[in-house]
Symmetry: C2
Subunit: 198 residues, 2 copies
């Protein structure tokens, strides 16, 4: 057994045994990618899901004016995919790009689709991942519709504890769906409040 | 075989055979509910998924100020559920309420969870539903982040062709994440443009 985060992810989170874990790993390739590498471009069909062994990915859509809207980040131990493109075999609406030098496991799409039909343990694991994904998407929608900027920012910090230091403020604002100016204001208010309490 | 929309939904969309369809139907109950009935309240664990045989449901969150934010509508032939509450057995963040007198199939949660483990045909069907759900949630997020109000409204019309006449404007504005005033403006502009072209 090797010491990859990915191996640990599969055996601990998914409770997959060694056979299945080895089978999955043998169908994956591990790549080192430089900051600014595109793992998926909008308009392409996704061929892999990605597990972040080291580094950081962002997934985003670009609107007609060329503005970037970040759907999610994936730091170490996160999976990133476009389930829509993967399952429906259709062109993706998203870009996936590394925003740090990264080490990524490329998980073959066909492997996932095949195991998701045939292997009972993988079915259960995949089902868990799909529902967890739905949970996070539902939360995103409700937050975008209703939560005040400060609440969104606090939730961002909770979801991605160390990303406030690794990611430019413009990226965080894009993820939160607010302007960089609003984000500065929120951060300043939180800092002021913190100071007055300490 | 009966003539319910739900039976047709299961046999045609899901390609489930008669045995499995009968099994599912025998675990469901069909209820007539009056307009304004709560099928789920925020804070409860969901016990059923719902198929709309006739009528109309809305699913929404209520923010701290008491404002309603509509996640989705379900007219005839639509399913409505909270996959998060169902799968993780946790309190829902949503209300589900009938906004017309409706005829609803209540699909037992345990039946779904059980079939999703055991029956190959149902696994495939459920997998399809989960991915379709993810597709629609992803689209909602990108739209909320980036699409202009007019584009959101046109997409609403495409998704729910007859709902513009069945649903109050305030509901549509809530779903779109815009003010009722913005919605009026969008509708007026579209009507003006339509007139000038005809």
């Amino acid at each position: 057994m090797n010491n990859f985060r990915f191996t640990h992810f599969l055996t601990s989170n998914a409770h997959l045994d060694r056979d299945l874990t080895d089978q999955i790993l043998s169908h994956c390739s591990r790549k080192e990618v430089r900051k600014g590498t595109f793992l998926l471009r909008s308009g392409e069909k996704i061929q892999h899901s990605f597990f972040v062994e080291k580094g950081l990915l962002k997934q985003y859509a670009v609107d007609k004016k060329g503005k970037e809207h970040i759907l999610q980040f994936a730091p170490e131990n996160w999976l990133m995919a476009d389930r829509e493109s993967e399952y429906f075999d259709q062109a993706s609406s998203y870009f996936i790009e590394s925003i740090e030098d990264s080490e990524i496991f490329y998980i073959n799409k066909d492997l996932i689709l095949q195991l998701a039909k045939a292997d009972e343990r993988f079915i259960a694991f995949n089902n868990f991942l799909l529902h967890r994904h739905i949970r996070s998407l539902q939360k995103r929608i409700t937050q975008l519709q209703s939560a005040p900027a400060e609440e969104r920012y606090l939730d961002f910090i909770q979801t991605y504890p160390d990303l406030t230091l690794r990611v430019p403020q413009t990226h965080i604002a894009s993820y939160l769906g607010i302007t960089p100016e609003s984000l500065s204001r929120v951060r300043k208010e939180l800092a002021d409040r913190h100071r007055s309490h300490s």
